[in-house]
Amino acid sequence: MSFAMIMQLIISGIALGFIYSMVSIEYTLIFNSTGLLNFSHDKLIMLGAYAFAGQFVLRMGCGYVVATIATVLSMFITGILIAKGIFNPLRNMASPIFAVIGTVIMGRIIKELCRIIWGATAFNIPGFMKGTFKFGSIVITRANTYIIIVAVLLVIALQLYFNHTKSGKAMHCVQQNKTAATLMGINVSQNINITIGISAVVCSIIGILVISLFSVSLTMTNMIGIKGFAAGVIGGFGYFPGCIVGGVLIGILENLSTLVIPSIYKDCVAFVLMIVFLLVQPKGILGHKK
């Protein structure tokens, strides 16, 4: 096994890892602001991919830039509608179990909608984000390069938003204490709407990025959805730096695992790691107390 090959495994691991990190960030946003896990998150990512590839690029023939903007905007609106129609009414019920089942059922609905609108057969955008870059003896695919760049930009943008804008700071308050936030004159419901909108935007970006890795299909996001959860547990649940560390770690480890186990079982690595962490270090690597 040459050094270049291992480096390539690591780099594509990092790229995949950033996808898991973004998935983790996307549901952590909602988890922190509502205390609910959104089990339809992988379906939202899938919806983003279908909207971009199925609707805007292939059906309407938009350029990639226009299609990206259109997808992001429509997903933001979808997110806010979901928040208004489902999350906010369900958030205050006697037991959170209603809301959690609600999100599962919503995922089911989104999937059925995608199936009915765009059909059950998998498809692809020919030539989208294909090709490679070469650095010396190391070859990196164009898709992986874009993923790493976009993920880093996204994390920076979210950081800036949370620390330097008024509505971002308000979100911080809502995450920490809803009652106090209400007393401070922050509209908690509206805040949650926007948070879920942002989460949907992150979903759509993930959706667009993974089109080149997996083809667009109804099951394309099953695995990244679960690995996003594993990333959260491993890094530190409900904590953004934890999401990033956990995601990248899973990405690298599962790629390297193909050196020792059959590659079809590499999807098990994240799950096994998650169970190990739950048993040994439930707080995750960064040990953030939540």
């Binding site: 896990l37 089990f39 009414p89 609600g102 059922i105 919503m106 959860f229 079982y265 799950f271 739950l278």
Partner: protein, 339 residues
């Protein structure tokens, strides 16, 4: 009061006899299959109700549990030549193993970890039975499942299996009903309401949550085992995340935390497509939307239409009542506001 109870028991007995007679009289295999499928779903939803409906811990791994329950027994029959009747104890044992193996790491901790481990578990099970082709048959799966042999009595026709399922299902419904309405059901519900208070009563919450999950796994595995006999083949494409979601949907539709609710939910969602054939591919979409509306406006499901207390606890009836201003005890401080 007592008379009412007697009438209820008489009605249930009549229903039981009716269900046993139905597959014997109606020779239409399709109808028999629909009934048998309903009974399998009832068993699985009853199990799910313990952990998710009562205890309030999200279980998203129903498909994986079913798959293991079905595969473990059938593979032992095919590879080791085990008697088919033994698949049932094997399924029960499998349920206990799943219950503890997944429950121990995730339910000891407070929070959402059960949902995360079960959702991962379910996908891993699917991955393994798809790819470990030498052992599980891979995507072709297990074919030609032999008929269940009850100590010489071969259940080699659908109607025979269906009659046996009616009896098994009745026993399990009765057991589930007893557990839900006992000290265990009460404590499971208490965990959903307030964990700290349960602990302060000296009750081992983690242990009870694991018990509830194990019950769910056992019911799920038994359901899976019969599902195999019913279909006569198994393959990994049957056990998807959607299947797990469908069972949650059934539970929510019928009524969370209630045995009659689970039965009604499973029955309605399984049988209605037979009557609503024109809905075809929109079926799950329509049912999904109805159930989501239920979650918002009638959270305790269909059954709560007949239960005044539950009906008015939340949802549309509460909103209507509040609007009428008929709510008693309005203005009582919720927590120590007054000093």
């Amino acid at each position: 009061m007592k008379e009412k109870k007697n009438v209820k028991i008489a009605l249930l007995a009549a229903l039981f006899v009716g269900l046993i007679v139905f597959p014997i009289v109606d020779k239409n295999t399709y109808h028999q299959l629909a009934l048998a499928q309903t009974l399998v779903n009832v068993i699985i939803v009853l199990g799910l109700n313990f952990i998710t409906g009562l205890t309030g811990q999200m279980n998203l791994g129903t498909a994986g549990i079913m798959a293991l329950g079905a595969y473990s027994g059938q593979l032992m029959v095919q590879k080791l030549g085990m008697a088919t009747i033994l698949t049932i104890p094997v399924a029960i044992l499998m349920g206990v193993i799943i219950g503890y193996a997944l429950g121990y790491p995730s339910l000891r901790l407070k929070g959402v970890y059960l949902s995360l481990t079960t959702i991962g578990f379910s996908e891993i099970v699917r991955l393994v039975i798809t790819n470990w082709a030498d052992f599980t048959g891979g995507t072709t799966g297990v074919q030609n499942i032999p008929a269940l042999n009850l100590f010489g009595l071969k259940l080699d026709a659908t109607w025979k299996l269906t009659v046996f399922l009616v009896i098994i299902c009745a026993v399990l419904v009765f057991t589930a009903y007893r557990i839900v309405n006992s000290k265990y059901g009460r404590v499971f519900k208490a965990i959903r309401d307030n964990i700290e208070a349960v602990e302060a009563c000296g009750i081992d919450v983690a242990g009870l949550k694991i018990k509830a999950f194990t019950l769910a796994a056992i019911f799920g595995c038994i359901g899976g085992c019969f599902y195999g006999f019913l279909m006569t083949y198994l393959n990994p494409t049957q056990f998807t995340q959607d299947l797990s979601a469908n069972y949650l949907l059934m539970m929510m539709f019928g009524g969370i935390g209630s045995v009659p609710g689970s039965v009604i939910g499973a029955t309605a969602v399984t049988l209605l497509p037979e009557f609503l054939r024109f809905t075809k591919e929109y079926y799950w979409l329509i049912f999904g939307i109805i159930t989501l509306l239920f979650a918002i406006f009638l959270p305790y499901g269909f059954i709560s239409l007949f239960q005044k207390e539950k009906r008015e606890e939340a949802g549309i009836f509460k909103i209507l009542n509040d609007r009428k201003g008929k709510r008693k005890n309005a203005g009582v401080p919720k927590s120590g506001g007054m000093r």
